[in-house]
């Protein structure tokens, strides 16, 4: 993946920029090399680049002032939460200001009466749940990085998690945000009333990967924790049988709280890693959670047990909380377990129509042989979100490039069968150049026009999501500011 070419004219003004930011956020600017090194990548660590400077605003007015300054000076902006993005969404630029939102981490209001919490963007996902769990509530989206990832980052990426099929993604669990637009204006989209009195810009901004502005306040919905949760493990001799079982469960009207699939290779790696008790020799394993009121769960579990049997699988139900957690500990250790097999790993993320799973797995097997790299699959089976893990050794000549090419082919395959490039990790820099596999020029043009409606200068997170950087065009005319093309230095990859 090509990183954007650095604008040396901006870099040459670094000292002035640092001083200007220091005036806006006294004591909140990171400009020394060792300090900046902390911010040189996100969780897509294969890509790293030092930011020009990092600023850590403490309130929305500072954010607004920073953006006004950056816009006036034509300096790119990269927003960052906790830096847990798996698609490079927070990858800095050498000629850009990295705005870290981690200092804005207050929980502003907990409103049980209206089932919502008002937070600053730097609050971690898990801390929202922690703040309300004593009263029996929780925040539903649970990305696996929830202990570290921030709600601002979740809004930017429209983060998912294990429970999306039943409880939705971030976008389905928000009531409102307050954001600062690239020009520094502060707008509030939605709120406790759940209405916006105009276009659903809240829905647009959610998942916009830091391309439209910076969120400075979020109103999230909280839910009452289900009184009962039960967990089943089902094992199958063939992937096809497991896939058919998943389809039959859904068609039966059961909506499991979670339904996770692991292929035989993942299950074997996990079993040797932390022994969660996965049956040896199974080609596919499902872990299924049902939650709700007791009778609902009883009903769901009995239907699932019957359907698994009809599909030729075997079920084991966790008999106590300890066993339940043990079964899940395996799935949650999938990354670590695969990490034992090779020094490096990339985790892909695509969604497929569920019925195509056996075909997709067979095709992946062929690709694996073609590229000479090992892989395994974990899969949010309920919603079709596939996470192939490709293992390689970066020290071996050409393996990283082969792993990336293998991953790209998997995503092309997802699109080919009617799916998408990303189910929850986002496009970022990782999948940017694959966007044309899924979208036509007209499709991307429409998205780009929307981007320009927010950010006519193209300063927000440039180089992410869109495969070609083009100037904002309005009614056939170039949108030119100050007699200069926006970012003449940026290559059109």
């Amino acid at each position: 993946m090509l990183l954007p070419v650095t604008d040396s004219r901006i870099v040459a003004r670094r000292a002035d920029i640092v001083a200007a930011l220091e005036a806006i956020v006294p004591g909140g600017v990171v400009a020394d090399k060792s300090g900046l090194a902390t911010f040189d990548s996100d969780a897509l660590s294969a890509y790293h680049q030092m930011p020009l400077v990092c600023v850590l605003p403490a309130d929305r007015h500072q954010v607004s002032e920073i953006l006004k300054y950056a816009q006036a000076e034509g300096i790119p902006i990269v927003p960052r939460g906790a830096g847990t993005s798996l698609s490079g969404g927070a990858l800095p630029r050498e000629d850009g200001i990295l705005i870290g939102m981690g200092r804005m981490k207050r929980i502003l209001e907990i409103d049980y009466e209206n089932g919502c919490v008002v937070v600053e963007p730097g609050v971690t996902n898990l801390n929202i749940t922690k703040a309300v769990e004593a009263q029996g509530f929780y925040y539903a989206p649970d990305p696996s990085s929830q202990i570290a990832c921030t709600i601002g980052g979740n809004v930017a990426e429209n983060s998912g998690g294990l429970h999306c099929l039943k409880y939705g993604l971030t976008t389905n669990n928000l009531l409102g945000v307050t954001m600062v637009l690239p020009g520094g204006e502060i707008v509030t989209l939605g709120g406790k009333c759940g209405a916006q009195g105009g276009l659903d810009l809240l829905g647009l901004v959610t998942g916009s990967e830091g391309l439209l502005g910076i969120v400075v306040e979020v109103v999230v919905k909280i839910l009452r924790k289900a009184p009962v949760t039960r967990t089943l493990m089902a094992s199958f001799d063939t992937v096809t049988a497991a896939g058919a079982c998943v389809a039959a469960i859904i068609a039966d009207g059961v909506v499991p709280a979670a339904m996770e699939f692991m292929d035989g290779r993942a299950a074997a790696a996990i079993e040797s890693y932390n022994q969660p008790g996965y049956p040896a020799g199974a080609e596919a394993i499902l872990i299924i959670d049902a939650d709700g009121v007791e009778a609902d769960v009883t009903h769901a579990i009995s239907r699932v047990v019957a359907i698994v049997a009809e599909s030729g699988g075997k079920t084991v139900e966790a008999t106590d909380e300890k066993q339940r957690l043990r079964i899940w500990s395996g799935r949650k250790a999938a990354f670590a377990a695969m990490g034992k097999l090779a020094p490096d790993m990339i985790c892909m993320d695509g969604t497929i129509p569920r019925h195509t799973l056996p075909y997709v797995l067979a095709e992946m097997e062929k690709l694996s042989q073609q590229y000479g790299l090992g892989f395994c699959n974990v899969f949010h089976a309920g919603d079709g979100n596939l996470h192939p893990l490709i293992i390689f050794d970066v020290m071996k000549e050409g393996e990283f490039e082969r792993a990336e090419a293998f991953g790209a082919d998997i995503l092309r395959l997802c699109v080919k069968v009617g799916g998408v490039l990303s189910g929850e990790h986002g496009v970022g820099i990782e999948k940017r150049d694959l966007m044309t596999e899924m979208f036509s020029e007209a499709d991307l043009d429409q998205q780009h026009r929307v981007k320009c409606a927010f950010d006519a200068q193209g300063l927000f997170n440039p180089g992410k999501v869109f495969p070609t950087l083009s100037a904002c065009v309005e009614q056939g005319h170039m949108h030119v500011h100050g007699a200069q093309m926006p970012h003449p230095h940026l290559p059109r990859f």
């Binding site: 959610t206 009121v293 490039l421 929850e424 899924m438």
Partner: protein, 379 residues
Amino acid sequence: MSAISTQSEIVEFVRAARADRSPFEIVAGGTRRSVGRPLGELPQLDVSGLTGILKYEPEELIITAAPSTPLAEIVATLAARNQRLGFDPADWSQLLGSNGVATLAGSLSSDASGSGRLRHGPARDSLLGFHGVNGQGAAFRAGSKVVKNVTGFDLPKLVCGAFGTLCVLTEVTFRVYPRPSHFAVLALQDVTPETGFAALRKIAQSALEPAGLAYLPGNIAPGMGQGSALIRLEGASKPLEEKIALAHGLLGNAMTRLDGEDPFPAIGSGEKFARVPGDIWRVMIAPSDAPRVARELNAQAWLGDLAGGLLWLAAPSSDAARIRKIAASAQGQAMLLRASAQSRAAHGLYAPQPAALAALNRSVKAAFDPLSLFNPGRL
């Protein structure tokens, strides 16, 4: 003009309108034409010919249909496989005095979600993807046909509730949900708005996954004393009985189970106000503000849906400014749903937005429709 039935005809129509800079009204079933700022006498693009279910895969929880497919056809097709749309689409025909046919795209474009949206959210929460023609006359698509997707901007959210001001839809894909086999409606009768809404919020905050929570004052629900809180629960037969018992446990045993017709469709569609004179408003507020705001609004006829998050009311058109002011002070939104053309022209569908937000809305509209050809000014 005669009905159009293909995307390429729409492209042609839009390109011609663009060349002439001639705005037009997009019409299918025509049931919601009287909502929003009146468009005046504009040419019409009649898309009522774009009908039919294109793909329905119950085990993938997906349905793809042409936009003007009658809502009733979608609902019946899904029901045959024990599924439903998540947003409980509301047919406003009776309220608006239309004898047209409510369509799928009409209900999503007008964000006409019924009482059941409590469970799965309004239309924007289940529209996965669409095809459309923008104001450049370009056919494009957005979103996807799988239930979980974060690739690119979530443009499907934008077209929900946009009243056809962004593009001409040519295909829509929805996520669908299982339709529980049984339901029950419980009523807490002869209670004040304070007591009634408090009970509804208690159920809303429970794990009972209610599919309807409304308060009806006595004059709207005769025979129930000063007012009645209605709770719709659903599930398979045994789980439903458990939920009913839990609801009784939460609220005490004063509730009765209503037999007969489900009252919620008439609540969510505004049918309760079909014969009530005056302008009809939908006021969205934080649910806990419902008793206070209802008291301030002091409407002759009103009810509260969504556990108080939505107040329906009838008022003389001279009340418009007062209603908007009360909604604004509660940080809510008052939507003028049914009113004379004059009143709609004067007050618009929603109150004017703060300047920066209004400018942003205009920019986003222009990103789709730079010449403002589609339903200009309606939203």
